[in-house]
């Protein structure tokens, strides 16, 4: 087996496992029951999307995708904090 085959097999396996995790995350996002549950699920799903970006970056050899992952981590943090503040103030139930 050459290096590209092993890397590709590892990435396929990683993608499949990650997709299974994202499925469970989406189930929690839909089921709720409170807004805080949905925000937790959204946060975890965004982190999984960052992981998916890194996997794609490793497979395709596009190092630029890691910049997008960093930017996404920044945006997700701000979004989670903003939603936490709206929950604390009781703007959404």
């Amino acid at each position: 087996m050459d290096a590209a085959t092993i890397l590709s097999a590892g990435a396929w396996g990683a993608g499949a496992i990650l997709s299974a995790g994202m499925f469970f995350g989406f189930v929690r996002l839909v089921k709720g029951p409170t807004l805080a549950d949905r925000v937790v699920a959204m946060d975890a799903l965004a982190t999984m999307a960052i992981g998916a970006l890194v996997i794609v970056s490793v497979v395709s050899g596009q190092a630029l995708l890691l910049d997008i992952a960093l930017a996404m981590a920044l945006v997700v943090f701000i979004g989670t904090i903003a939603l936490a503040m709206t929950i604390e103030k009781g703007i959404f139930k």
Partner: protein, 118 residues
């Protein structure tokens, strides 16, 4: 070397899977947050470590380390704020919880402290 990279990819993705399974299976918001924060931080760190080993480029090394550091710093802060907000809005704890150390210590937006009555 390439085996290490493939193993890191699979292990990182497995940590992400544990995150998803945790937020699906855990009984209340606070335990779900426990699964979502820690396992996903470790998963991203392992995947970025695989990227560092594949690219072997100083730019990638720096950016990946910054991303890992940023996620390790911000995930606990975000979970803390979210848990605080959920507690202040009187989100119910799991009925088998044995300890509630925040009782009487967190105030709502209206200024009253919250916690279980018992």
């Amino acid at each position: 070397m390439i085996f290490v990279v493939a193993a890191l990819l699979v292990l990182g993705a497995f940590m992400m899977f544990l995150t998803g399974l945790g937020i699906y299976r855990m009984p209340d918001v606070f335990t779900r947050m426990h699964a979502a924060t820690k396992a996903s931080s470790l998963g991203v760190a392992l995947l970025l470590l695989a990227a560092i080993l594949v690219f072997r480029d100083p730019m990638v090394l720096t950016k990946s380390l910054v991303t890992i550091l940023f996620i390790f710093l911000t995930a606990p802060v975000a979970a803390h704020l979210l848990g605080r907000a959920a507690y202040a809005r009187r989100t119910a704890l799991w009925e088998h919880s044995v300890v509630d150390e925040a009782r009487g210590k967190i105030a709502t937006a209206e200024g009253e402290t919250v916690g279980r009555a018992d």
